[in-house]
Amino acid sequence: MPKELSGLRAKAGLAMALVLLLLTAAACSAENAAVSANAGPAEAAAQADPSATAAELPLAEGEDASRDPSFGDKLQEWVQEGAAAEHEGAVTLSAADVARTSEGAHTSVGTVDGRPNALDWRVENEEWIEYEFNVETGGLYRIDLTYRPVTDENRRRPILLNVAVDGGNEFLEARSVALDRRWKDPFPASLDQNGDQIRPMSQDVSCWMTVSLRDSGGAYVEPLQWYLQPGRHTLRFTASEPFALASIALSAPEQVPGYETVRQANAAAGKEGSPDADPIAIEAEEADWKSDSSISLRYDTDIKSTPYKRGRITYNTVDGSRWSTGNGEMSWTFDVPESGYYKIGLRIKQNYSSNRSSFRTVRINGNIPFAEMKAYRFPYASGWQGVQLEDGEGQPYLFYLKKGTNTISMRATQAPVKPMIDDLEKIVSALMSLTADLKALTGGSSDTNRTWKIDEELPGFTTDLRAVADSLEDVQMRLKDVNGRSDAVTQGLVTTIKDIQSMLSDPNRIPYKTDRFVTMQGRVADLMQQLQSQPLGLDRIYIVPADRELPQMEASFFKKVEGGFVNFLSSFRSKERLSSGDDDVLNVWVLRGRDYVNLLQQLVDEQFTPTTGIKVKVNLLADTNLLVLMNAADRAPDVALGLPQTLPFDYAVRNGLYDLAQFPDFDSVYKRFAPGSWTPFYYEKGYYAVPETQSFSMLYYRKDILNELGLDVPDTWEDVYDMLPTLQQNSLNMMPVQHTPFFFQSGAGYFTQDGLHTALGTEQGYQAFKQWTDLYNVYAVDQQVSSFYQSFRSGTVPIGIADFSMYIQLMVAAPELNGYWGIAPIPGVRQENGEVARWMGGELQSSVIFKKTKKAEESWQFLKWWTSAEVQERYGTDLETLNGLSFRWNTSNIEAFVHLPWKPEDLNSILEQWRWYKEIPNVPGSYYLERELQNAWNRTVVDGMNYRSSLELSIEEIEREMRRKMQEFGNIDSQGNVLRSLDLPDVSKPWEGVDPYVRK
């Protein structure tokens, strides 16, 4: 400990010295500038230049360290080295012959699901197994695994493998190879009271499967390949999900011949004739299996969609927007009455991105029948369209099918656009480094009174920019070619090219437009992201004998009119009514979106009602004010979920809520959550709500920018103050900070322990307030930043404290920053024992039981069920699998939380912050605190009032309001004598409940 401490101190000292140095340097240069104000920009540029080169270096290094080559690049390299794709070499390993494992790996050999001598690998945390084998013929090998996932209720994600050959990942994609599960939607779907179908919940039907290892992004049609020289090799799999493995086979990648070759071969083999049979129709939604549970079904109300039931919800198609990424694959089985040639027709909907085509790999009986099916193009159309698989001249491809059971499968692929995606990625990083150059030149300010000579001051800049424009043009042309016509993405690229050209037409004005670069970069990254999605909605597949006509697949005009009319009429059916007072069911109102409500109802019907026999009706509550008004009208639910954090208290003091601490097993629920997340729900020895979700605040920082400036991630506020001058010299700044960390970390708190007075007036309180306002007054943090996300993306605010929504936003909407940002626990105050106290809160959502309920026991049972780790985890996983990453469920239940798919390093930071989680308690009149603190801030920071008198004014106001409210609720009498004190719970130690979950 002491050693570490002294190290830290040394570091802090170094940092201080550096800051001092920089400060003096800045002062000197400012003096210089003052002396030779008209020395011209050349000198300034000369000063800026070294920093420009310095700016490039760490970036380049970072790229080298973190980015392996992609499979495509590596394959090319191997082929150039002379690796043969066609060879006879093959190796088969039994999974039981493990050479080594990681320490304590949970492996055993036995019969699994009917297959003897299989390796049953019950992974806990992270483990690896290693095999050794001999290769006789050198060449490219693909790896086929025969595996069976462990299937149970709580496992929904694919198994992710890190595949290392001879101890290393040869390419990026090998780091995480997905072994998919197989899912099936049970049909026929059950109906609800209205006669609408309930969305079937996919079931895991995984069995023993043999697949070639593929990249998980769906970027290549071919499986992943490794170049193996003759000799001894090792193969190591690292996994974090349990599964069973039967065998591993290495062989040469399969070669798929072209259509003509296949036809001739078939003809030579005497396969002829168009059978005399009826067309076979396959309902796309009733697939045999699908590789991902998030490929969901959709009810389509087009009159020609099948099956179709007037005015009722029928899940009759595959949702194209969900079947768009990765290796998403669906497979169907059908019976062929007679052998012969068939053609394939599909009723598809591909109207997701204007004019952009989607691609699918079509496989018949597990194999790609001919090369044209590797990535078949489905063009864009505004509505449903009937297509047949055909060649460029409109001649249908003919598939030879044998009599009996056949399967057809379709897999999403982005292979045709993958090279362009790679190029766009390079363009984005080129634009990024150009932006960095430009920023280094201008020092971040866009002073329009200064004249630039860009070619002298940044030699090579315009050439590089022109090169970017040229390669964009090239990508655009190729995309158009692959897509068949220009689309939304190529149009976006054209706009960007025009932007660049207009800038190049007057290059000396470029330095004024640094922000344009950020926009362009974002736009290109966004287009790149779009290219990765390959949506395709599917209603039916037709297998039709070669010389028969395809059935009519699009609705005629009159049918369309009829369908429109039916839909219009059925839109009057009301489905949204808040139910209450129904004695048979438990009424639950949820202040969340439709997706959340539906999923909860499903989960309740599936798990809660069968085990407890309690029927539950989940309703959507649109607005909290509705709750007040409904209460006034004497209508209340039994349970309400998703309520904002202050609401339970307001209802509790007015006798509207049930005290949960009355239940004998309350303690078991209490332990599920951090003590700091209970404080807002406490009133007079009772707890009136259960935390549901919590939005923890974290410190977000841009790795690249901090690196470039040589700054470390701040650990304490002192570190923050040290780094601010450096940031500001580079025209960067930090995001404004709330008051919570200052008041909590100084130990002042907000209310006295008896809860009758505010604690702001203590000496610590004044100090905390001073610290908070000094951040703006002394350390010149901006008073207002309109959007942290935008400023963070553009790099002008590379560091700041923000909550969970920022995390989601960055993950989902800032693909170009992937790997360039990180999160850390927020800065704190070093304690005497060397620990850094990082107290901070975060918005909570809560669930409550209403006092008027007649079913208190049932309600409590429901709440216990709902907040339990298993249910929270399941709900969070389902939400994300159904709706995507942006629906990440930030549950307050720590055990469920850690099981959601976080990045390990992020999770550890979040958990460290979680130890210090504490929210402001509520007392009568406490709503006044926030607004008066804001007012005090406003007076001190905006109006420049002395911090002490400003806070005094606020304290007076807060005390007045608290006194008034306390009198109303009988805590004190009209003379100010205490009748009942509030005894607030004391949370002054970090939560130890976090410790078991921290991964070392």
Partner: protein, 328 residues
Amino acid sequence: MSESNAPILENRHAAGSAAAVRAEGRMARLFKEIWRYRLSYLFIAPFMICFVSFIMIPVVSAFLLSFMSYNSLEPPRFIGWTNFRYMVSEDLLFLKYALPNTFKFAAIAGPCGYIASFLLAWLISILRSGWRKWFALAMYSPSLMGAVAMTIVWLPLLSGDRIGYLNSILLEWGLISDPILWVTSKEHLMTSMIVVTLWSSMGIGFLAMLAGILNVNPELYEAGKLDGIKSRLEEIWYITIPSMKPQMLFGAVMAIVGTFKAGSIGTELSGMNPTPQYAGHLIMNQIEDYGFIRFELGYASALSVFLLLLMYLSNKFCWGLFGSKEDE
């Protein structure tokens, strides 16, 4: 009309003669009377039902609630004049901010909006009739757009950082050296609120005035010319305004009601509730603050009753200005 007049007279007569009869008999007679004129009652029923259920009952219950302490969860408790006493003696927020702000806001936004809509209506009325409706539509559209316009036009325009349109233009022209917090500083919030309200105030009052101006009998102008009116301004003053008094009154009432009713604009602009240092705190905000944040619905009702009174008085004032004397 003449048909319905007769029963009323008769009714009055019948009621007078029945004064001596016992109460029960009177009630029975009243119902009988009503039954006799059931068709007339049927005709006024749709309006009466709406009026009673959406205006009468709420107003009366607000009036009753203003004498109670009520928090929406527990049953109301009668407390007499306490709410009103608190309002005039103790509620500092109300006395220091809400009331003066509301008067300031109403005094500037109301009349200015009113005059502006009259002038615009007059300007548009001069246009050729083909163009007129398009201009009227364009002028009317701000009041239709409301919240949407707020988020996509005004918020970026008035944003307090360097990127805000207004700030960046002023900075570029060198008029200011630091960005101004248009919507979060207490000096500028009120001004911003008034400007935005003026922009969106071209509501129904404006349309009424346009109709009024177009309805003025053209012969009057001719007669005026003969009588020696020299300029357009004199024409407005001596002919247009006097002959469109009803529309002027309507416009004035709408303007007053509109400005008193405005409340959300401050919170929408500043993004804070309540507004920074209560700079944009109006009576409506105060009502919402007490009603939905502090759960004191009784006091909130008392405030609404006060607001109602205020509106009534200002309506009286408008009648005084524009009401036609002959009718009284």
